[in-house]
């Protein structure tokens, strides 16, 4: 175990791989800053270019993006009151008031320092779990893995805020899209209608780009002007923010651990973690009077948890092959591109890769924080560039990325069709991430269902762990919705404030 841990570090120290990690962090910072272009899109953008690349370098790049976005999405949250991604919504509550009071630098300094510590705690928690992972995963057979995929689908439904049913319906639509093409358990092509392009099914990259990138580009262009419509200066006082974090070190550790725990539950992801932690820090604070008006603890808690959760979401992703978030669904896709089977086999056959991922996560957090601090001023100006000058570049990259899938014009048609689907879903308030996770899990769920049915007939439904996970699905669907509603209510109360 220790050998693999150390040799993974040596592997990652290769200049090309380190460069790719750095490139990933840079991309993550840029897409995190631009609202609408989150980590999911950043990862989808680079996914087509991973073919043929060294697996360690490619994975390091993706982890770099995933780790940097939770840090950099703080910029628009603090400077403009616009969440850079769903993971930084709660940061707006106190970060933006701080910026309005001329304490933007302090808020950013606190956010980045808390993010760094949170990210490192997440990586440490993940590496601490690996030695115990093997016996745990051995408990899981095909029926239990099937239930875990269903759990992932249920949890993604919960992420749909107060519309869990719509979220689950989105995941079901993803499942159906994932069924197009060759069946995983039988020599049969389904719903391809003789169209050669559909025989291999739809590409994950095209589904992700169509659902997320095209609608955002269109809406940002339709809105007109720059992404940021208002702003505040950065001010000075970075070190004050760092000192705030040091003063609240137990708060950082506590919320980082909560971030890891919640992140480890598939589907809980970034959307709930920041609100949950914000609610907790408010409820546990003795003096609540400053929350919502610029209390630095309201920035530190969600930011620490937001970065720590990356270690958490990697747990189900790597150990069970169940994506912990929609971005992790893309990471799973990337692992498959490199011929690596996520799940129990990964720990048995590719332990070094697991540790490369952990090292990448830790290093990406350090790189990300340093870059965020250094490049704060110039990067924040990107949000003031009129989007019509950014859009053609992003659109061209999206189209090129989609075209690399099969290099067939069908790629462009599929991109347009899925872009339309994403645009419609966004209009009607139907969450899109569940669709992507459903699409990813379709193949896994079908394979595990067929294996369970073949090996145990319907008796697999009576296995104890299956029943426990099924109960967990039900509890989390209802419990998660209630918990989120409570946290949002608490946050809204703070927003409306004591006057």
């Amino acid at each position: 175990m220790l050998d693999a841990f150390l040799s993974a570090l040596v592997i990652l120290m290769d200049p090309f791989r380190l460069g790719m990690l750095f490139a990933g962090v840079s991309i993550g910072i840029v897409v995190g800053i631009l609202p609408g272009l989150g980590g999911l899109m950043g990862m989808a953008l680079v996914l087509p270019f991973l073919f043929g690349m060294d697996a360690y370098a490619g994975i390091a790049m993706l982890i770099g993006i995933a780790a940097a976005v939770p840090s950099s999405d703080t910029f628009p949250s603090v400077l403009m009151g616009i969440p850079g991604s769903s993971g930084s919504q709660a940061t707006v509550m106190d970060g933006y008031p701080m910026a309005k009071q001329g304490q933007a630098a302090r808020a950013l300094g606190a956010a980045f320092s808390a993010s760094l510590i949170g990210g490192l705690i997440g990586a440490a928690a993940l590496s601490a779990l690996v030695p115990f992972a093997r016996p745990i995963v051995l408990l899981f057979g095909a029926p239990e893995l099937l239930m875990l995929t269903i759990l992932g689908l249920c949890m993604v439904g919960v992420l749909s805020g107060n519309r869990p049913l719509l979220g689950i319906l989105g995941a079901c639509l993803g499942l159906m899209l994932g069924m197009i093409g060759g069946a995983p358990a039988a020599p049969e092509y389904r719903w391809a209608y003789g169209i050669l392009y559909l025989y291999d099914g739809l590409s994950l990259v095209i589904v992700a780009l169509g659902l997320f990138a095209i609608p955002e580009i269109i809406d940002l262009l339709a809105r007109g002007g720059s992404i940021a419509r208002r702003g505040a200066g950065l001010g000075s006082g970075w070190l004050d923010g760092v000192r705030d974090v040091l003063r609240n070190k137990y708060l950082v550790v506590r919320h980082s651990l909560i971030g890891v725990l919640i992140g480890a539950i598939p589907g809980m992801g970034s959307s709930i973690i920041d609100w949950l932690n914000y609610g907790l820090v408010v409820s546990r604070a003795k003096d609540k009077s400053r929350f919502g008006k610029g209390d630095v603890r309201g920035v530190i808690a969600p930011e620490a948890a937001n970065n720590a959760k990356e270690g958490g979401v990697l747990m189900p992703t790597l150990l069970f092959g169940v994506p912990g978030s929609s971005a992790m669904a893309l990471l799973l896709g990337a692992l498959l591109i490199f011929g690596v089977q996520p799940g129990p086999a990964l720990l048995r056959d590719n332990l070094e890769l697991v540790f490369v991922i952990i090292w990448s996560l830790a290093l990406a957090n350090v790189f990300g924080t340093v870059i965020c601090l250094i490049l704060s001023k110039p990067i924040s100006k990107l949000t003031f560039v009129p989007f019509q000058f950014v859009a053609p570049v992003v659109l061209a990259i999206v189209i090129l990325g989609a075209f690399q899938q099969t290099r067939h014009m069908g790629d462009l048609i599929a991109l347009a069709a899925l872009g339309m689907l994403g645009w419609i879903m966004k209009r009607i308030g139907m969450p899109r991430p569940p669709l992507l996770v459903g699409f990813i899990l379709a193949g896994l769920a079908e394979r595990y269902l067929w294996m369970s049915y073949n090996i145990y007939d319907w008796e697999w439904l009576t296995r104890p762990l299956v029943l426990i996970i099924a109960a967990l699905c039900l509890v989390l669907i209802f419990g998660g919705t209630l918990m989120k509603a409570r946290m949002q209510r608490s946050a809204q109360q703070v927003e409306q404030g004591d006057g």
């Binding site: 107060n162 262009l221 645009w423 209009r427």
Partner: protein, 168 residues
């Protein structure tokens, strides 16, 4: 319920109805497949159909109660601004969508480099009234990017159906 919320609710109902029809289609057509290929689609399709009915019922009850559309912080996806949810917002967004589709059609016909050279200045000049210089600068930058991607990462650019007929 305001006009935008009503429109959104109607579109959502239409979407769920379409999904319901799709799930029934999946269940029905999966009958022709082998057992191993039909088991999952039939279960997934049936569950989807049941959930669609549940959602349609929920929407119906809400409308009968004249309850306002459930609002709240959208933590699952990037939300729309209030103005974008109106008919005018949708119309403007569809206008931009048609520009993007036009770019796609140009790529299919003329190939990526030529389509970009036509699309970018046209979008910036006609839609956003931007000056020529940044428009042409963007085209040059994009051409350089495409060239770099082709050389460094062996990225293949879409070549148009008419490209072969050009004399150059």
């Amino acid at each position: 319920m305001d006009d935008a919320s009503r429109l959104e609710a109607r579109l959502r109902t239409a979407f769920v109805l379409a999904l319901f029809a799709l799930s029934l289609f999946v269940v029905w057509t999966a009958q022709d497949f082998r057992t191993a290929a039909r088991l999952f689609p039939q279960y997934a399709g049936a569950v989807t159909a049941a959930l669609c009915l549940l959602e349609l019922g929920r929407q119906l009850v809400r409308r009968k109660l004249l309850a306002p559309a459930e609002e709240g912080v959208n933590t699952a996806d990037i939300g729309l601004e209030a103005e974008e949810r109106t008919r005018e917002g949708i119309r403007r967004s569809l206008g931009i969508f048609s520009w993007v589709l036009g770019y796609g059609v140009l790529i299919v016909l003329l190939g990526m480099p030529l389509a970009t050279a036509l699309f970018v200045p046209a979008l910036l000049r006609l839609r956003f009234d931007a000056p020529w210089l940044p428009a042409l600068g963007l085209v040059a930058g994009l051409w350089a990017l495409m060239h770099a991607l082709r050389v460094v990462l062996a990225v293949r650019l879409p070549s148009g159906w008419l490209t072969g007929t050009f004399p150059f």
